[in-house]
């Protein structure tokens, strides 16, 4: 099936936010996906939902699904200040206050008439692809959606890297599930026969975007860094972590983005922020943990106002560790999908996560580590205090800890976060001074 989807009209660029051209292009892509979802029924397309870490976008495209990603729906609702009510609606419907707010925002959105972040209707998925990478809550999330709305689920169990590596039996297990469970189910639901050459073609396209993304992320090794590897990276990872990996649009986007960033490097510029060009780069940080979405811009401002730039982040690796060499491999498509799922950041064990952060601190010449601990996300958060100690011990660089949430506005205390950040920047400065004194 070749669905014809009308490109949405670009939203008018507001005057008070500065973005690079690639950022506008990214926004158009995201809006386009919401439009595809909104028009899926009219265009006789089936709809899939799947999670970001380890998402099988290339595979889903082989079956012509319109593709929804519930975490991005929740975060988009968070950024648009809509998630608070959704969460409270879900809690009134029986969800515990203790559990993940992405789940509750999603359930609340469905209860509120299934209107998506852009105001368009979100069709009920025909299939929930439970690619279960790095987060136990995913399993309950889709069980809850299935229980309430009757959508079918198909499980892809991705084993955890408990021993710090991908063992052959783990890869084989994922491939077997793809062959024997996932692909037959997707064929049945979509009515489209699986064509492995089509998958290979999408993967060839993926690799181009992956190469360009890595060049963008690694540009932060320059001084000044031309990008913010956390707040800015959210825009950069959007298309490749969601419904666009494997598409020519994504290839174009990453080509444009890379060219822009390389130009910034040549010009010796720092990152562009919502308030324009960032001033002097005073602090270079590595950040662990997802961002807060309900106060995303305020949160970012606390950094760039102080001259702090994030040079690397773990969150920008939840959808794949491309900067450590992973690429989708068209010659071994199913094995490559398995490796991709198994390799996502939250599927790594804690010692591997510590190694990765230490490597970032060293390679990106960072001044220290900041952990944004998210109440909703035990997959990230459980163990972060030990990560912090271990990284401090191994690198000798100061680390700090702040606590926020993903999309629950009740858990973002701007004054507390700002105080902690300011104290942390003072600590970094003092540490630098002390080091300078010893040399």
């Amino acid at each position: 099936m070749n669905a014809t989807v009308t490109m949405p009209v670009s939203s008018k660029r507001p005057q008070n936010v500065q973005k690079e051209d690639a950022m506008w292009q990214q926004k158009e892509l995201i809006n386009k996906n919401y439009m595809e979802l909104a028009t899926a029924r009219a265009n006789n397309r089936k709809v899939s939902a799947t999670f970001v870490p380890g998402n099988l976008n290339e595979l889903l495209m082989c079956f012509d699904f319109a593709r929804s990603l519930p975490e991005t729906n929740a975060l988009q609702n968070g950024m648009r200040k809509k998630s608070g009510k959704m969460i409270m609606d879900a809690e009134r419907d029986g969800q515990s206050e203790d559990v993940c707010t992405y789940v509750k925002a999603d359930l609340g959105m469905m209860m509120g008439g299934e209107i998506g972040p852009t105001g368009e209707a979100m069709p009920r998925p025909d299939i929930l692809l439970l690619s279960y990478t790095g987060c136990f809550t995913f399993m309950k999330w889709f069980e809850l959606i299935r229980h309430k709305y009757g959508c079918e689920t198909v499980m892809l169990h991705v084993p955890y890297q408990g021993e710090g590596h991908i063992a052959p039996n783990m890869r084989d297990y994922v491939v077997k599930q793809l062959k024997e469970t996932v692909i037959p189910t997707l064929e049945r639901i979509s009515g489209v026969k699986f064509d492995i050459d089509r998958l290979r073609q999408y993967m060839r396209e993926s690799v181009k975007a992956e190469d360009d993304l890595v060049a963008v992320l690694q540009s932060a090794k320059h001084r000044p860094s031309p990008i913010d590897g956390y707040f800015g990276s959210v825009y950069y990872i959007g298309p490749i972590f969601t419904a666009f990996r494997g598409t020519p649009e994504a290839t174009n986007y990453y080509r444009t983005l890379r060219a822009e960033i390389e130009q910034r490097v040549r010009e010796g510029k720092g990152p562009i922020t919502p308030d324009g060009e960032m001033g002097e780069e005073k602090y270079r940080l590595v950040v662990e943990g997802p961002p807060n979405w309900t106060h995303f811009r305020d949160f970012w401002k606390m950094f760039y106002d102080e001259g702090a730039v994030v040079v690397a982040s773990t969150y920008s690796k939840v959808g794949g560790l491309y900067d450590f060499g992973f690429r989708h491999d068209p010659d071994h498509p199913l094995e490559s999908l398995a490796e991709y799922c198994l390799g996502c950041y939250t599927n790594l064990n804690l010692p591997s996560r510590v190694d990765m952060i230490c490597k970032y601190i060293e390679e990106y010449q960072a001044d220290g580590l900041l952990i944004n601990s998210i109440k909703s996300c035990n997959s990230f958060s459980a163990g972060q205090l030990l990560i912090m100690r271990e990284v401090e011990k191994r690198t000798g660089k100061p680390a700090a800890f702040i606590e926020t949430d993903l999309v629950d506005p009740r858990y973002f205390s701007a004054a507390n976060v700002k105080n902690r950040l300011e104290s942390y920047f003072q600590m970094v400065k003092a540490k630098r001074g002390a080091l300078a004194g010893t040399h």
Binding site: T137, M155, N378
Partner: protein, 400 residues
């Protein structure tokens, strides 16, 4: 509110003696019984495991003692453990770390962290970092229930564990060893099934505060000794006449990992409820029937896991229709009149599962109530009041 209490048995009775022994084991946070077991024969090893399920047969077949680690309870003062966790994370990992850092788990030669939730999963990595001289393994269990897919993976995972344990034991673990251990655990499963059946039939004769302690004893005792203890208790319990109350018969759900304080279980019983089924220490009842002892042992353990095992929040239900079937079966077969959802605070699996189970119960007109606890919850009055009101309402509905 009902004020019924569990009838005491005389201090000198065999029941009391068994319960007192189990209680002493339960309260022993130094794991002295494990130390004594190891000291009895030089070279013995003990392997700890966390909830919900590990194939203990493999540890036993290696000649080692499997030791269930269920946190520190309400008697352990957590000082260091709190420094490792944010306030919004449940209590069991912090008290388990406290046990480790204070040397109480030095008697263990290794720790297994089964696939249950993100917190216990990450604790496996923390353990690797904190206790570098110990054997540590994350035990992944399949969420795909086809023999040729999830079953093969699970057998491979068990084979890795088997080889690791063999290295620690310094000897091969043969199929014969494994089959012998499966037989020993089959016997234990039968004994516990009898205990649960007896409690459901005559809950006043085997209060859950005692049954719970018996199960806890099974976390530290050699399985053969535990089986005898369970049977001794059953025999002794039948010899004592206790007062039957007009209590409500309830199933407890949600306590499969972090454990409620014993006083909470007693409070539920004192409030007028007979607990006729539960999900405490599911490892003892995970496999629902006898595992064959004359085949390929790993394959048989795998088949039992895939096709004949209990259901809980950490296990995927492949279809919507399966949700709540296991709980409904508990309700029906045990003759329960209601369900109490007792989940630990911040327990993602239990709390996310709960609304679905509540819905299933509501559709089947089974009364239910819910509260949260932590292993160190101290205030029982609210729980007594809630459980008591629930029991009273069940009685009123039944009378109407």
């Amino acid at each position: 509110m009902s004020t019924a209490t569990v009838s005491p048995v005389s201090a000198a009775s065999p029941v009391q003696a068994i319960v007192a022994r189990c209680e002493a084991l339960f309260e022993d946070l130094e794991f002295k019984s494990v130390q004594q077991w190891k000291a009895a024969v030089p070279g013995r090893k003990a392997i700890g495991y966390m909830p919900i399920y590990v194939p203990r047969e493999l540890i036993h077949a290696a000649g080692m003692l499997p030791v269930g680690i269920l946190g520190g309870g309400d008697a352990l003062e957590v000082i260091q453990g709190d420094a490792y966790y944010q306030s919004y994370i449940c209590r069991i990992p912090r008290s388990t770390i406290e046990l480790g850092l204070t040397g109480r788990l030095n008697c263990l030669d290794g720790m297994l962290f089964p696939s249950i939730c993100d917190v216990i999963r990450n604790l496996s990595g923390m353990w690797k970092m904190l206790f570098k001289d110990k054997y540590v393994r994350y035990i992944d269990v399949p969420q795909n229930y086809q023999d040729e897919v999830g079953g093969v993976f699970y057998m491979q995972e068990m084979q890795i564990l088997r080889e690791d344990l063999a290295k620690i034991a310094g000897r091969e673990i043969t199929d014969a060893d494994l089959n012998a251990s499966i037989a020993v655990y089959n016997d234990n499963r039968v004994a516990i099934a009898d205990l649960y059946k007896y409690r459901a039939a005559e809950p006043w004769q085997a209060p859950t505060s005692e049954v719970y302690l018996l199960l806890r004893a099974g976390m530290v005792l050699p399985v053969e000794e535990h089986t005898v203890l369970v049977r001794d208790y059953l025999a002794a319990a039948k010899q004592v006449e206790r007062t039957k109350r007009d209590n409500a018969r309830v199933v407890i759900n949600g306590s499969f990992c972090e454990q409620p304080p014993l006083s909470l279980i007693k409070s539920i019983e004192m409030s007028g409820c007979y607990i006729v089924d539960d999900d405490f220490m599911l490892v003892t009842r995970w496999l629902l029937d006898a595992v064959p002892t004359d085949g390929n042992p790993l394959q048989e353990l795998s088949r039992a896991f895939l096709h004949r095992s209990a259901s809980t929040a950490a296990k995927y239900d492949a279809t919507r229709e399966e949700k709540g079937v296991y709980l409904m079966k508990q309700v029906k077969t045990r003759g329960a009149e209601g369900v109490i959802f007792a989940a630990p605070s911040f327990c993602d699996p239990a709390l996310l599962e709960r609304p679905m189970l509540q819905d299933v119960l509501s559709k089947n007109a089974i009364p239910h109530t819910a509260f949260k606890f932590a292993e160190n919850t101290g205030q029982m009055a609210p729980i007594r009041e809630q459980a008591g009101t629930f029991a009273d309402s069940i009685k009123l509905w039944n009378a109407a």
